[in-house]
């Protein structure tokens, strides 16, 4: 069991308000990702849940029980830190066993739990090594191992993959998702990378400047962004925004079209422009097109479409895939 409820949580450091007012319900067993630009307060929010920071105001409940003033250790949550925070002088076994040792668990139980965690995480051959003798991915797994042996109510991850190279990041992303499927424990995962958020989450919390912009499933966020910020943040490449006369035609202050919802033609389209750069990824080709009166627009076409720098092309949005926003940036 591990549902987490935040009610009107506020946090300021000295005079600086980092989190003005957040209320949030995280259901038991869900994989929830906090995503947002750097400095928007994701880590702070996670640390508030963990109990590493005190709330300035508001209430945090875990399983319906008020934990606002409870010490971190008593909240029964496990955290995986961005720097891994492994204990350098202890072996991998010592690191993973540490939380149980602190609980004064019997030796057989500790050994069983450590061996179990090690086999889940493919660490069995490394149990007697020190952290500094491990690669980044292995250290990451040790940190996760240390988190799972306690059988916590929920796992908290703070950008756990940001120190890994791209290939390893994709692999660990899968491993963490598999781990979630296996353990079915609540996970709260912080990242600034919307791809991680989209691929891993049951539900995504999009944060901006300490406020929740939208809370929903990845597809909800993709298909029905609540505002311009979410529309621009979710999806890659970014959504194209057009303001002014073109938007007026759709009866909105500004409109947005995702790159994958723009069809490219050699003849004239709704808009026409000159290809500035074309990026060939093999499977896809991204075209950056300079459109008169609308700025640069990005399109995503299939990999075999060959447009060259300097060619004039027509762009037409797919019917019903134009997002409209009012002057405040809210979706209409």
């Amino acid at each position: 069991m591990g549902s987490i409820t935040l009610k009107n949580v506020k946090k300021s450091f000295g005079g600086v308000t980092v989190i003005p007012d957040i209320s949030l319900d995280i259901e038991d067993g869900q994989f929830v990702v906090f995503v947002g630009p750097s400095g928007c307060g994701k880590s702070t929010l996670l640390r508030l849940i963990a109990g590493l920071e005190d709330v300035s105001d508001g209430m945090i409940a875990i399983d319906g029980e008020d934990m606002t003033k409870t010490a971190p250790a008593q909240r029964k949550l496990s955290m995986v830190f961005q720097s891994y925070a492994l204990y350098p002088h202890m072996s991998v076994r010592g690191n993973i066993a540490f939380p149980l040792k602190m609980e004064k668990a019997p030796k057989e139980k500790i050994d069983a739990a450590v061996n179990n965690a090690a086999s889940i995480l493919n660490l069995t051959d490394y149990l007697d090594r020190k952290p500094r003798q491990l690669s980044g991915g292995q250290r990451q797994r040790v940190a996760i191992g240390r988190a799972i042996v306690r059988q916590p109510k929920a796992f908290l991850f703070d950008e756990p993959l940001s120190n890994l190279d791209a290939a390893l990041r994709v692999a660990m992303r899968l491993e963490i998702s598999e781990l979630h499927n296996k353990l079915k424990t609540t996970m709260v995962y912080v990242t600034h990378d919307q791809v991680e958020a989209m691929t891993m989450a049951d539900k995504i919390v999009v944060l901006n400047a300490g406020r929740i912009e939208q809370y929903g499933s990845p597809l909800e966020l993709y298909q029905r962004p609540a505002n311009k910020f979410v529309a621009g943040f979710i999806g890659s490449p970014k959504m194209n925004f057009v303001e002014g006369a073109e938007a007026q035609k759709h009866g909105a202050h500004s409109i947005g079209v995702r790159p994958e919802h723009l069809t490219v033609s050699r003849g004239p389209g709704t808009w026409s422009g000159v290809v500035k750069v074309s990026e060939h990824l093999g499977s896809d080709t991204f075209l950056h097109v300079d459109v008169e009166g609308a700025g640069t627009m990005t399109t995503r076409t299939s990999g075999d479409v060959a447009f060259k720098h300097g060619e004039t092309v027509g762009l037409t949005p797919v019917e019903g895939r134009v997002y409209r926003f009012d002057a405040q940036g809210m979706a209409v």
Binding site: A73, S78, M79, F81, S83, A85, Y87, M90, M102, E103
Partner: protein, 290 residues
């Protein structure tokens, strides 16, 4: 910097310094070694002659030698124990955020800047004096008989004075070690359920172990040759209760004008220091490996 070429270059560039250092050490050491085999008393100038190991025999035969050896070890051990434990505790205290942190730190470091003779005199005359001392006054306030520290607990008194001088050094080094502990490690340990004691023994102590080793080695080197504090307070007494090897050598050379005997004592002290150093490096040396 591990290619053969850089290593050769490094050796060449270091050579002058190494040679200078070698001459610096070798010349006094060999002179001492030479004198230690000579019958050489300043009261009988011009009558030096080779005596073999006689000086060493006399030095070891001195009934005070074993007492001095024990005193040396007790002094070093006592001061080390106080400064390492006290230094760790003080460093933990100073690492807490508090009002006036900078000034408190400066005050704690201050004793290190006081000359040994001066601090020993201050302790002797202002703190431990049986009539005028602060401790005597304190004892009288509470209705106790004042203690004559240097007569009743001479070695303890010397240890206190020397420990007071070296505590800041230990504190300072250990404080920097403490401050280099990763904050996330503390937080991780906290979330893993470690209380203050577990945090100290499982996380903090291993982290500062290397600094403790360094403090211990450096202090040992200096503490083996404590002299000024003894000279201005107890003069090695009562009896030989506070005579360490350095003081014994001083008494023999300067009070008896026997340069040969004193040189033999000096060589013995050098050998002893090396034994202690090797011994210490053996026990704690593994902490120094990367």
């Amino acid at each position: 910097m591990a290619t053969a070429q850089t290593q050769t270059a490094a050796r060449f560039m270091m050579a002058p310094a190494v040679l200078l250092l070698l001459a610096w050490m070798i010349i006094p050491l060999s002179m001492t070694l030479y004198f230690s085999f000579q019958r050489y008393n300043l009261l009988m100038p011009g009558m030096e002659y080779f005596t073999g190991f006689d000086n060493y025999r006399y030095f070891f035969a001195n009934p005070n030698f074993w007492a001095a050896l024990t005193n040396t070890l007790v002094l070093v051990g006592g001061v080390l124990a106080i400064t390492l434990i006290g230094g760790t505790l003080l460093a933990l205290l100073l690492d807490q955020p508090m009002f006036g942190q900078g000034i408190v730190r400066l005050l704690v470091i201050a004793p290190f800047f006081v000359m040994p003779t001066v601090s020993a005199l201050v302790w002797k005359n202002m703190l431990m004096h049986p009539v005028n001392g602060f401790f005597a006054w304190l004892a009288r306030v509470f209705g106790f008989q004042p203690i004559d520290w240097f007569a009743q607990f001479p070695m303890f008194s010397i240890i206190m004075i020397v420990a007071w001088q070296w505590l800041p050094f230990a504190t300072l080094i250990l404080l920097t070690a403490l401050q280099s502990l990763d904050e996330e490690q503390r937080e991780a340990a906290g979330m893993d359920g470690a209380g203050p004691l577990s945090l100290f023994f499982y996380i903090i102590l291993p982290h500062i172990a290397r600094a403790l080793t360094v403090v211990m080695l450096i202090q040992t080197i200096f503490l083996l040759s404590i002299f000024a504090e003894i000279l201005v307070t107890t003069n090695g007494g009562p009896g030989v209760a506070t005579t360490n090897l350095t003081f014994l050598i001083y008494m023999q050379s300067l009070l008896q004008f026997d340069v040969g005997l004193a040189s033999a004592g000096g060589i013995v002290a050098v050998i002893l220091a090396n034994i202690v150093a090797i011994f210490l490096l053996r026990i704690v040396g593994k902490n120094l490996e990367a």
